[in-house]
C-alpha cells in the first residue's frame, strides 16, 4: 500500500476532527454505546462536501481491510483514476465512516501538481460499518465508492 507519496493537503481542522472523534470513543471498551451518525447525517455531510451533483460509481479504488485488525487504527488507501492535467484532475476526496459518531474522517485536496490522486492514512472505526469515499473532479462530476469494514471481537480462528 502507498504512503503519502503524493502529498495531498490535509488541513489542521480535518486532523482535529479525526482526533476529536477518537477522543469521544476512547475508554468505552469493546462495545461503546455511543450513538452512530445516522444515514441522513452521512448524506448531509457528503452534500456539504461535494454539493448536489449526483454520484457515479467507478474510478475510486479503496484499499481497506475486510476485517480491521485494530479498530482504533485502520489503514485506508485511496486512489482515484485521473490524468491529473490542468483540464482534468481530481479536486478533492472526502472519506466518511457511516458508523462513527462523527462521520467525517478526512478531506483531501489535490491539484494537477500532485501528479496522481493517491493517499493513505489511518482512521478509527467504532464498529463494523461502511466507509464511503467521494471524489470531486475538476469538471464537477462526483464519484462514490463504499467498502464495508468489520470490527470484530475475534478469537476463534481454526
Amino acid at each position: 500500500m502507498t504512503r503519502m507519496d503524493s502529498s495531498p493537503h490535509v488541513t489542521r481542522r480535518h486532523v482535529l476532527v479525526l482526533t476529536g472523534a477518537a477522543a469521544v470513543a476512547a475508554g468505552t471498551g469493546l462495545l461503546p454505546s455511543i450513538a452512530a451518525a445516522d444515514k441522513a447525517a452521512v448524506e448531509a455531510a457528503i452534500k456539504k462536501a461535494v454539493g448536489d451533483a449526483s454520484t457515479m460509481s467507478g474510478r475510486i479504488t479503496l484499499d481497506l481491510p475486510q476485517i480491521a485488525e485494530n479498530g482504533n487504527t485502520v489503514p485506508i488507501g485511496i486512489e482515484v483514476d485521473s490524468p491529473m492535467t490542468e483540464s482534468d484532475y481530481v479536486k478533492s476526496v472526502h472519506i466518511f465512516a457511516e458508523g462513527n459518531p462523527n462521520p467525517e474522517v478526512a478531506s483531501l485536496h489535490f491539484t494537477p501538481a500532485n501528479g496522481v490522486a493517491k493517499a493513505s492514512t489511518r482512521m478509527r472505526l467504532l464498529r463494523t460499518q461502511n466507509v464511503v469515499a467521494v471524489a470531486k473532479m475538476s469538471d464537477g462530476s462526483v464519484y462514490r465508492e463504499t467498502v464495508e469494514v468489520k470490527v470484530t471481537i475475534g478469537g476463534c480462528g481454526g
Binding site: 462495545l31 475486510q66 485488525e69 489503514p75 463494523t128 470484530t152 478469537g155 476463534c156 481454526g158
Partner: protein
Amino acid sequence: MFTRRDFFTLAAATATLLGDAGRAARGAIRQEITQDDLLRFDPLGQVTLLHITDIHAQLVPLYFREPSVNLGVGEVHGLPPHITGQDFLRRFAIPAPSPDAYALTSVDFAALAKNYGRVGGLDRLATLVKAIRAQRPANTLFLDSGDTWQGSYTSLETQGADMVQAMNAMATDAMTAHWEFTYGTERVQELLEQLEFPFLAGNVRDTEWDEPVFDGIAYFERGGVKIGVVGQAFPYTPVANPRYKIPTWSFGIQENRVRELVEEARAEGAELVVLLSHNGFDVDRKLAGRVDGIDVILTGHTHDALPVALEENGTLLIASGSHGKFLSRLDLDVRNGKVANYRYRLIPVFADAIKPDPEIAALIKEIRAPHESTLSKVLGKTESLLYRRGNFNGTFDDLICNALIEERDAEIALSPGFRWGASLLPGQEITLEDVYNQTSITYPAAYRTEFTGDFLKVVLEDVADNLFNPDPYYQQGGDMVRVGGMSYAIDPSAKMGQRISDMRLLKTGDPIDPAKNYVVAGWASVNEGTDGPPIWDVVSKHISQKQVIAIPENKNIRVVGG
C-alpha cells in the same frame, strides 16, 4: 480346546478391549489396502507437487473424525467442501464401508476406526514422500500450507522447535503459516534461523513502515519447469489470535498484493505459479475467481479434505485435509506456461498400512523421549467418541465446557471453535497428551468473569458472522464458539445480528435475560492480561476426578431457517 483360529479371534478381541485397536486394525486395513496401493499413481508431466497442511504438530498417528456438519452459506451452499456424510459419499461415488469412506467422512466413524486404525504420523508421511521422490527425484516439490508448529504437548514445550526440526528432516521445500505466529514475534524469528527452507508470507507487512516482513515468492525448477511459489499466511491472524503476540505485523487478504506477486512471478519467467495458502478454502475459491494467472492453489486452514481438484477460473484448488491424515499428489504437465493436463490423488495416510520411515521414526522418538512420562499419563477413560471438528459443539468441546463449568464454578462456558484436535474412540484411555492435543496454545488462561445476557448474544453473533458471512472474504475459518450451560438456536443464512435466538440457561430452562449478569468461564481469550489457570490443568483435573467420561449427544443447538 482352543483352535488356532480361536486364538486369533481372542487376540484381536483382547487388543480391542485394551483400548489398542492397533493390532486388530493392522490386520483389517492390510487386507484391503497396502502401502503400494496408497502409492499407486500413473506419473504425468514434468512436475509432481506434494502437499500437506494443518498437521498441527501431530508427529504420531491418531484418530481424526471429519465433520458431520460443515455448512456453506450464500453462493457456496451445497458445494464442496460444504457437504458431509452420506452426501459426500454419494457426490464422490465412494462405496461404504471402505477405507476411503472412513478417511473422508464421519459415517460409522467409531466402528470403522476400530477396523482401519489410526491415520497420519510424520514417519508414515515420510515413507510416502520419500517413495514418490525416489520415483520422481527431479520433478517433486513438497509444500506445507502451515499450522505445523502448534497443536501438541511437545510443540508447546519446545515452542515449535520440534516441528522445525522434523520438517527440516522431511526436506520440506517451502511453507506458509498461521498458528506459528502465536509463539510471538521473537520466537518466530528464532525459529526461522533454524528453518532450512523458505517461509513464505507475502501478505505480512510491518505496521511501522508498511514493508514486507517475509519473502512472498520462492522459485524452484522441477522437470525443466520454473515454478513460482507464492506464500499467503492466514489473513486474520491478529484478529483470530492474540494481536499482542505479534504487535508490529499486519496481515489481511491483500488481494492486490497477491496479484502483484503472481505478476512478478510470471515476469521472472515462472511457467507454473502456485499459491501456497492459509486463506481457507472458500476464501481461496473467491480469490481464484478474481486473481488471474494462478495455476494451482494449495489450500489450508479450513481442514477440508477433497478427493478431487476443483477448478475455478483456470485455477486448480487442492484441499489436503489436516493432522497428517492425507498427502496430496498433483502431477502437472506444463506447456507454454500453462497446465495442459493434470492428475490428482488425495492419499489417505493409513498408519497401519505404511511402514514407518526409520530416520523420521527415530527423530520422533528422540523428540518425545524426554516427555514420555507426561505424554502417557492416563487421566481416565472415555465411553463416548470424543471429537471436536464440526460447525457446532463436538463432544470433546462438551467435555471441556463441563470441566470449565464444574472446576470454575460457572453458569455458562465458552470454548473456541478451533478445527484442530485429535479424536478418541469409545473405550480409549484419555492421556495427558490427548488433553494437550485439544488445548496446546500459548494463551491458555481459563478465565472466569461475568457477561450480561446481551453481551453473550453479541459474542455468539460475532463468531457466527465470522463463520457464516456470505462473503468468504469476511470469514475467519474457525467453527462456531462452543457453549456449555446454555442452549440456543441459529439461522446461518440470516443477517449479522439476527442469526442467534432462543438463548436459554440450561439449568433453569429460562430465557437468557439481556440485562442480567451470568458467570462465564472460558479460555483462549485474545486479550492481553487474561487471568486463570491453564485450560489443560482444568480439563485434566476434571477427567481425573470423573475417571469415566460419557458425553451424550449435544441437543442444545438448534439450526433453523433456510
